[in-house]
């Protein structure tokens, strides 16, 4: 029996008269106020589609009555107003103003399992009384639909008024505080100076400050101490490394081609381009246009050509017998999906094989979007390249004849564009030629009011298209790019975005926790000429950002996941930061920016577990390779540097907009036993003897202070101090009794300064500090 609602079939054939009668009985109960009357007291004055209704319909109804025409039951779609209002034999799912006549409500309330919605077979839970009451009131109020929030223009909101105006340092705080005040929650006090400087250094540079820098900041009593520090950090060349790494993740940057052969490639000049662009604070709109279509700019110089390597980070399959066209199509599809995820925050990929189930992207529109990228020269091969000597992007001249030069892969359009067709079920061998070649275009429903989309020339399939796509992405009327971009920046600072599903701003994604704030941030980005540094400064100097990360008893009940931002969040370091911070603490960090990727020592047999099967590609590292920042470590897609994988770095087969943060025994073993970290513990121990020279007994307290300062930017608490001291003394005792064992744990440099026992005990102390949860956590 047909059991979907609202269709002709349903009304004419599907339901025998008796059942229909029962529906009407249920309707009568509703009419006299059975369901929906009790919780009415708590109903909002104005029921909003996006806020209240859409989540209910999306969860229970859209799978069968939504955008996917293939899965649509009974020709009814509830995601569009006209669909829901459609008259069918005098019935309509929704009759505005008349809940008693709205089939939607009647079917939801029906008792008969054959009639009730959602049908029992769908295993979707029935609507709760509250949900029914909301629906009812919404229909009463006229059942007004709103477009999906993410596709609506950025709303220009007045700054909300707040009672504790003094707490707010900038507009961000007004939005956050206004919400907190509504909920009766107090914000947290500002973090203390040591926590703040460590937080700012880690967030902006991914490095740890030196003890003297910590001391300078903690003793700076000027009211704008924090702002001065932020300006100093934003001017550092290491800012581009830290924020560049986030961008490299999204660009699925790696140093190898991927797939089974996984041969090496030379993409590092593009990585350096990113670092330099961020350090120069290249406006994000230009940053976008140069990377998507720098080659098509009227006056494209070498820099603009280098920028286009963004989309050459796709995989190349070098396996014998692989079909070039197949893997060319794969990379074009990846360029579409990456562009969708990075700029638009949408899961385009779903529409590759079928029209999107939840978002308004038809399969045809997917391939129209794909047409923008379909006509470049590369065909699963190196394709066009540009020779870039080391240092060029930083404006340095090549040093001597030995300087490295890379052949950087770039984008270039074919003189005659390819014809793009819908690929049936996403299969490259099945172009739908009958439907004709497609012209490039963006999905119509995204931005209905965007007149700009019409400017993409429909008569021409020419090379200009990709450039126009790039300009469309950052057109001020396009609300997705600024929202998505600001949300990701926010996510790095608070551990979670205002929209938690940073990669999905579509109908299935989470709604923003602070929609007005998100829109204000997006608008501000445009108003500030897309300056990322200004946006960083705005966020990290806000009172919201500066709050302490201490958990609070009251919040555990009211806001256990800290969505209202009444405190900061503790965030575990990224993989590279875990290494870089230890390099900082040990004093061994090589601060060289840019250049070819390096091969620090790694354990034997890393390839045994990969599909490249132990081909031993790791070049033995030169001494200069040993202490560079993590982002310069050569990245083989098939066998990443083990530390990275253990700490949740992705394998960069596809774009990664945010990393997972796991907490596993393997991380413990890495931090405690990896030869690289033992070496850093030795470096840290040596530094203790150098910074605090003297006899072991006299220096102990000071060295304990110092190791904490180097690693955590703060002094130990009294209980920490006694734990550290007792442990050191036990280690000293044990090492004195077994000098041979002690020597194994120490370095030559260390033994030249102190006795083997003292040296070993100091290494143990340093190792302990590097292994604390606090060390690898930004608080």
């Amino acid at each position: 029996m047909q059991r979907t609602m609202g269709s002709t079939r349903f009304f004419r054939i599907g339901i025998p008269g008796k059942l229909l009668l029962r529906v009407w009985v249920a309707g009568a109960v509703l009419a006299v106020g059975g369901i929906g009357s009790s919780p009415a007291a708590s109903l909002p004055e104005k029921v909003r589609y996006n806020l209240h209704i859409r989540p209910i319909l999306a969860d229970r109804c859209f799978a069968c009555h939504g955008p996917d025409e293939k899965k649509r039951e009974a020709e009814l779609r509830l995601d569009l107003r006209e669909g829901a209002m459609r008259q069918d034999d005098d019935h309509a799912a929704i009759v505005p103003g008349v809940p008693e006549k709205s089939e939607l409500l009647l079917r939801i309330l029906a008792e008969d399992p054959a009639t009730v919605m959602p049908p029992p077979a769908s295993r979707k839970p029935r609507l709760t009384a509250d949900e029914v009451a909301l629906l009812r009131k919404w229909i009463e109020q006229g059942a007004e639909y709103e477009g999906h929030w993410a596709f609506l223009p950025l709303q220009k909101e007045e700054l909300p008024s707040v009672r504790q105006l003094a707490w707010a340092r900038n507009p961000i705080d007004r939005f956050v505080l206004s919400r907190l005040e509504q909920e009766g929650i107090q914000p947290s006090p500002e973090a203390d100076r040591p926590a703040l400087i460590r937080r700012l250094w880690i967030d902006l540079l991914g490095l740890l400050p030196s003890p003297s820098q910590v001391q300078r900041f903690t003793s700076d009593t000027s009211p704008d101490a924090c702002e001065s520090l932020v300006d100093e950090l934003l001017a550092s060349p290491h800012y581009g490394e830290r924020w560049g790494r986030h961008w490299l993740d999204q660009a699925r940057y790696a140093d190898s081609n991927g797939y089974a052969n996984d041969g090496q490639r030379e993409m590092w000049p593009w990585r350096d381009w990113v670092i330099q662009a961020l350090n120069e604070d290249m406006p994000f709109d230009r940053f976008t246009v140069e990377q998507i279509a720098g080659d098509l700019l009227p006056a494209a110089g070498r820099r603009q050509l280098m920028a286009t390597a963004f989309h050459r980070n796709t995989l190349i399959n070098q396996e014998g017998g692989s079909d070039r066209e197949q893997f060319r199509v794969e990379s074009v599809i990846d360029r579409v999906n990456t562009t969708g995820a990075v700029w638009l925050g949408l899961t385009f990929g779903c529409a590759q094989c079928h029209s999107h189930k939840y978002d308004p992207i038809s399969q045809r529109e997917y391939y129209q979007f794909l047409a923008f990228f379909d006509s470049t020269e590369d065909v699963n091969d190196t394709g066009p390249t540009i020779e870039v000597p080391r240092g060029e992007v930083f404006g340095q001249s090549a040093v001597g004849a030995t300087a490295s030069t890379a052949k950087l892969m770039i984008m270039r359009e074919l003189p005659r564009p390819r014809e793009t067709f819908v690929l049936v079920r996403g299969d490259f061998t099945r172009p739908d030629r009958a439907a004709g070649p497609l012209l490039p275009g963006v999905p119509a429903a995204f931005l209905p009011q965007l007149s700009f989309s019409a400017r993409v020339p429909v008569e021409s399939h020419s090379a200009a298209s990709r450039l126009q796509l790039a300009e469309w992405l950052v057109h001020p009327e396009n609300p997705l790019t600024p929202r998505v971009t600001m949300n990701r920046i926010w996510m790095r600072y608070f551990g979670r975005g205002l929209v938690e599903t940073d990669e999905d701003f579509g109908a299935q994604g989470a709604p923003p926790s602070h929609p007005e704030l998100l829109d204000w941030l997006g608008g501000e980005l445009i108003r500030r000429n897309w300056s990322l540094k200004q946006m960083h400064r705005l966020i990290v100097t806000s009172a919201t950002y500066r709050q302490s990360a201490h958990q609070r008893h009251d919040l555990r009940q009211k806001d256990p996941r800290n969505q209202l931002l009444a405190r900061q969040e503790r965030v575990r370091f990224d993989a590279e930061t875990a290494r870089d911070a230890a390099l900082c603490a040990s004093g061994l960090l090589d601060r060289t920016v840019g250049g070819p990727s390096v091969f620090p020592p790694q354990p034997e047999g890393v390839y045994a577990f990969t599909s490249s099967g132990g081909s031993g590609k790791w070049r033995a590292g030169t001494p200069e390779d040993r202490y560079r920042r993590g982002l310069y470590t050569f990245f083989f897609r098939s066998a990443p540097y083990p530390l990275f994988t253990t700490f949740d770095a992705p394998d960069f087969q596809v774009t990664c907009t945010h990393r997972l943060r796991s907490n596993t025994p393997l991380q413990a073993l890495t931090m405690a036993n990896d030869a690289a970290f033992v070496e850093l513990a030795q470096g840290l121990a040596l530094r203790l003897t150098e910074d605090v020279p003297g006899a072991v007994a006299e220096t102990l307290e000071q060295r304990i202070d110092h190791v904490w300062l180097l690693c955590l930017c703060r002094r130990p608490t009294s209980s920490e101090r006694s734990l550290l001291k007792d442990y050191f003394l036990r280690e000293l005792e044990a090492c004195s009794q077994d000098v041979a064992a002690a020597e194994k744990l120490t370095s030559d440099a260390l033994r030249r300064r102190v006795t083997p026992a003292e040296a070993a005990a100091l290494v143990s102390l340093a190792r302990l500090a590097l292994n604390t949860d606090n060390f690898i956590t930004r608080e």
Partner: protein, 511 residues
């Protein structure tokens, strides 16, 4: 009760005692109980769904948990034949295909089917292997699997397997996570999430690898996706230390190392008291587990204690990495209470190219796998472990009835019909379930889709696959997505009674 639980009594394990006492300390004295409770409440946010979903104690995420209803299997060993073995060379005797070998396949069988590499000009390919029927069930096995004859009546043959995805990486993801794109939890993670683990010194989900290379797809195949990362599979290496960085730095004795870990716990606990983040508890537990793994993992991997007879039965040699050694490790892992063990063996990808022929290369991989697969089932049975342990054998898809012409003639990827087998854990023994058409193109009876396999596995482990969910990004996700039917016909008991109400335990030794 599994042998492991008797031998490794948790009460007698000093680390366990320490762990329990420290845990009590946290909950009583650090006020963390509130945070943990809040998280628990959060995980249980959706009351209706949460009724059957496990409640995880963040301080002890791997503590054993009770399933929704009485489980028949308590642990799983999944022998993953990476690259996809040809069912037509191993399990499917097709006289009609032999007859028509060399001819174009009937168009009716091709329409609507999709292949990875075929050009459309290929012809049907009969096998060169000889088949015979074996055992009470009369399963046809080719000459390439002589040892499988010994377990023919101990296993349940699924000849009607189908999947949706025909490239290796995505298909392996699909077989493991029920979804072809990255990001979903693997079944090992789901099972460990549902049941925790009975081992307190080994990870709950262990992955072993053999063959010339690792499986395509890599770590995504055993990833925990959006589930807490404690449920992620931990790969053990076959050579050297089973786990990278397992050994303490040179010159540090075990006793001093205990001191290191204890002091570290105290320091972390002190920070926890200051700042109150329950994630610190997870970190403390991760370190304690790491310390225990330093002894338990090498002990587990060391096969020298196995009798010569056992080693010979598997064809394993201590210290020599092989699928056989891994099968023996798998038994040792489940004996020690590990919940989910997954073995990957490459390379079954018989396209006909170099290293991938249906001749010598295929024979080689059969030899590598045949004896130990059978030995594992027999060994588990002999030790009384097979009742509790579900063994799964198979690849990510099957191979085409048409030949694929490369340097030699091989077979392409085929998603519409292939063979897997199950043993133990509440599955009928000596049963052939499913049948394909006379050419092996499609399933005519007893079709088991990957989602159905997942549903059935979870059922055997005591879960309704529709109710073992995890709420993520506003949606209740499950291993079977919105699909899956339990294959009732292969269960030893068709309807498992609800023996007790849903209840979950927080820590403590298994009951």
């Amino acid at each position: 009760m599994a042998i492991a639980e008797q031998v490794h009594s948790p009460e007698l394990n000093p680390d366990r005692i320490l762990l329990n006492s420290t845990r009590r300390h946290f909950f009583r004295q650090c006020g963390v109980g509130v945070g943990a409770m809040a998280l628990r409440a959060l995980l249980a946010a959706d009351a209706a769904q949460a009724a059957a979903s496990p409640v995880v104690d963040p301080g002890s995420p791997l503590s054993p948990r009770v399933s929704s209803f009485r489980p028949r299997a308590r642990q799983v060993i999944f022998l993953f034949m990476a690259g996809a073995p040809s069912q037509l060379e191993l399990f499917e005797d097709k006289p009609r295909l032999q007859e028509l070998s060399g001819q174009k396949p009937p168009q009716s069988l091709l329409s609507g089917r999709r292949f990875a590499f075929l050009k459309g000009t290929e012809t049907l390919l009969g096998t060169s292997r000889r088949f015979r029927r074996h055992g009470g069930c009369g399963m046809s096995l080719s000459e390439l699997l002589p040892h499988h004859r010994r377990i023919v009546d101990d296993v349940c043959w699924l000849r009607g397997m189908t999947t949706d995805v025909f490239n290796h990486g995505p298909a392996k993801l699909f077989m493991n996570t029920g979804f072809q794109a990255h990001g979903r939890p693997s079944m090992g993670a789901w099972v460990t999430y549902g049941l925790g683990s009975s081992s307190d010194n080994l990870p709950g989900f262990v992955v072993l690898q053999s063959g010339p290379r690792g499986p395509r797809g890599g770590a995504a195949l055993w990833h925990s996706g959006f589930l807490p990362t404690s449920f992620q599979g931990v790969p053990f290496r076959a050579k050297g230390d089973p786990i990278l960085h397992l050994k303490s730095p040179e010159g540090i004795s075990r006793q001093r190392e205990r001191d290191f870990y204890s002091t570290l716990s105290e320091l972390n606990r002190s920070r926890l008291g200051e700042i109150g983040d329950p994630e610190i508890l997870t970190r403390i537990n991760a370190y304690e587990m790491a310390f225990r793994m330093q002894t338990s993992a090498p002990e587990m991997m060391d096969l020298t204690g196995e009798t010569a007879a056992t080693l010979a039965a598997y064809g394993a040699e201590p210290g020599v990495p092989s699928f056989a050694a891994n099968c023996l490790q798998a038994r040792r892992l489940v004996e020690r209470g590990v919940r989910f063990v997954q073995l990957y063996h490459t390379n079954w990808d018989s396209h006909g190219g170099p290293g991938e022929t249906l001749a010598g290369d295929f024979e080689k991989v059969c030899r590598e796998v045949d004896q130990a697969s059978a030995a594992l089932v027999l060994d588990l049975k002999q030790r009384g472990l097979l009742n509790d342990t579900l063994v799964v054998w198979g690849g990510e898809f099957g191979r085409t009835p048409m030949g694929e012409v490369r340097q030699s003639v091989g077979r392409d990827h085929h998603i519409d019909a292939f063979t897997m087998w199950l043993a133990g854990g509440g599955v009928k023994a000596g049963v052939i379930h499913g049948e394909t058409d006379e050419l092996g193109f499609g399933v005519v009876d007893g079709k088991v889709h990957v989602h159905d396999l997942h549903a059935t596995m979870l059922h055997l482990l005591g879960f309704d696959h529709e109710l073992l969910t995890y709420r993520f990004q506003g949606r209740d996700y499950r291993l079977t997505d919105v699909h899956g039917q339990v294959v009732q016909a292969i269960l030893t008991e068709t309807q498992l009674a609800l023996s007790r109400p849903t209840q979950f335990r927080f820590g403590g030794p298994p009951g």
